[in-house]
Subunit: 297 residues, 2 copies
């Protein structure tokens, strides 16, 4: 079971995202939480708080988007609540199950494990920056992919916006890893790669080294510059999958990883020691300091 | 599965309820939704939105209250979310299960059914009126039952306040009715007796007559006056249980109803016809018009 709260002006701005995309994204980010445990989604609940003025078209578009993702993943919306609220409040709960074996936790990483990434990081952040840069009110009017593509004016920026509005979640890959016992620990990257890897390290009581050069940079971003380094380490909301596995598991993974899934990349390894993340590159190494999103900062 | 959203200034006022009582009540009202279906609670999720200034003591008291009720009903808190928010937002989800047979719905009432009430109505509303009347800021400081009792200055008003802060939910009675197949339809009275009975009538496509004299008035309230009539028909948040059953079921109920449960009262009957509620008394009869709480009015 998992729940996520999305609040206007904390998690999103109403003039920066159309309710149709917000509806779709609201379910996706919750399914990503289930994916992080290797669970198969079973059902969901949706509670919405809305200003009275948004009860018509806004509400309808949100629900259309939300139910589209329910259909795609074959998850029934089992109930929920609707209330008046000054700001838009979206509260989604999801329930999943495990066909066999226990769930994957953040706490299972072991010294010697490889650290593996499935999916992109930093791409959603580029989408957000683009929207912020243009600070375009008409963004909230864009409610379908063709309009989004033409607003984007280029394939790279279109990919950034897609990553921001409709993040690709790696549910099938996550369930496959759980079923085949190919991960010791797992998390979805919602706050940022550095920050979420630290969550694994803290709960597993171990240390890690990653090679920044082995993390792919977003399309259209520069090669390894300080700016793109920050982007891939601290950019949030990509919902990539981050997990650790032993060398034996990694061998089995290499032999059987389904080509239909997004490619995996070994980006580092777990070592014993304090919960600390060391960034290694050809030019030397340094300790990573958390910059991930803090809702209360 | 069921979910409820409680939003500051829509569902509660921060200066009128201590976070400890709010935490307890938040779980109770959700369990009442499960009770309405005859389901046994299994687990819950809690998402909280809080202003930064309330992250300390307020948050702690809320959680203490919430977990106290989790303990009492033996339901684990399985997860949730915490976010910054301008107003306090409480979003609770609960999951229950049925040992056998299907759940009870609002849509199962049949012509000839008796309408039965378990628990009080109008009492919570009297508690709310007392708080509003005294509009006492110190109300939010009252965080335990002895302080509440001494603030109440009388056994009746203490009962009103208890009903408002810690409604008695009829979970065991509801599960018993479901297990023994002694109800055709059921609902919990959260918006008001009249309004919630209309929900049954609308979903069951039938009509009802109730005898207002057969509904108990709250302790300390006058006998049947227009004011107390409105109180018992429109007072919300008592979480009484309202159900319908056939004459055969009623006979079995009379013979086997456990004395440990709150007493049941037959207050009327279902008849065929449009979804309409008729109030019958010695002096005549009239059609009831909905006055229940509308979050968007």
């Amino acid at each position: 079971m998992s729940a996520d709260l999305l609040i206007e002006e904390v998690h999103f701005r109403r003039d920066w995202i159309n309710p149709y995309f917000l509806g779709r994204k609201s379910l996706l980010v919750n399914l990503s939480d289930l994916a992080a445990m290797g669970a198969r989604p079973y059902a969901c609940l949706l509670s919405l708080g809305l200003p009275v003025s948004l009860l018509g078209e806004y509400f309808e578009k949100f629900i259309i988007g939300f139910l589209e993702e329910c259909d795609r993943f074959e998850i029934p919306l089992m109930g929920g609540d609707l209330s008046r609220s000054e700001k838009v409040v979206v509260s989604v709960s999801v329930v999943g199950y495990l066909a066999s074996k226990g769930p994957l936790y953040r706490s299972g990483a072991k010294g010697g494990d490889s650290i593996i990434l499935i999916g992109d990081v930093g791409v959603s952040e580029l989408g957000l920056r683009l929207i912020r840069q243009r600070s375009s009110k008409c963004m909230s009017e864009i409610a379908d992919l063709p309009s989004l593509e033409s607003w984007a004016d280029g394939p790279d920026s279109y990919r950034w916006l897609l990553a921001h509005f409709l993040p690709e979640i790696h549910l099938e890959a996550a369930m496959w890893l759980q079923e085949h016992e190919l991960a010791n620990s797992m998390i979805d990257v919602s706050d940022g790669l550095g920050c979420d890897l630290l969550h694994i390290l803290e709960e597993s009581k171990c240390s890690a080294e990653i090679r920044v050069e082995d993390i792919p940079v977003p399309p259209g971003a520069d090669r390894i510059t300080p700016a793109s380094r920050e982007l891939i380490l601290d950019g949030g909301e990509d919902y990539a999958l981050l997990f650790t596995c032993s060398q034996e598991q990694l061998e089995r993974l290499k032999q059987s990883y389904p080509p239909a899934f997004s490619p995996y990349r070994v980006i580092g390894r777990i070592v014993s020691g304090e919960a600390e993340l060391r960034l290694v590159s050809d030019s030397g190494s340094e300790v990573y300091h958390r910059k991930g999103f803090d809702h209360f900062s």
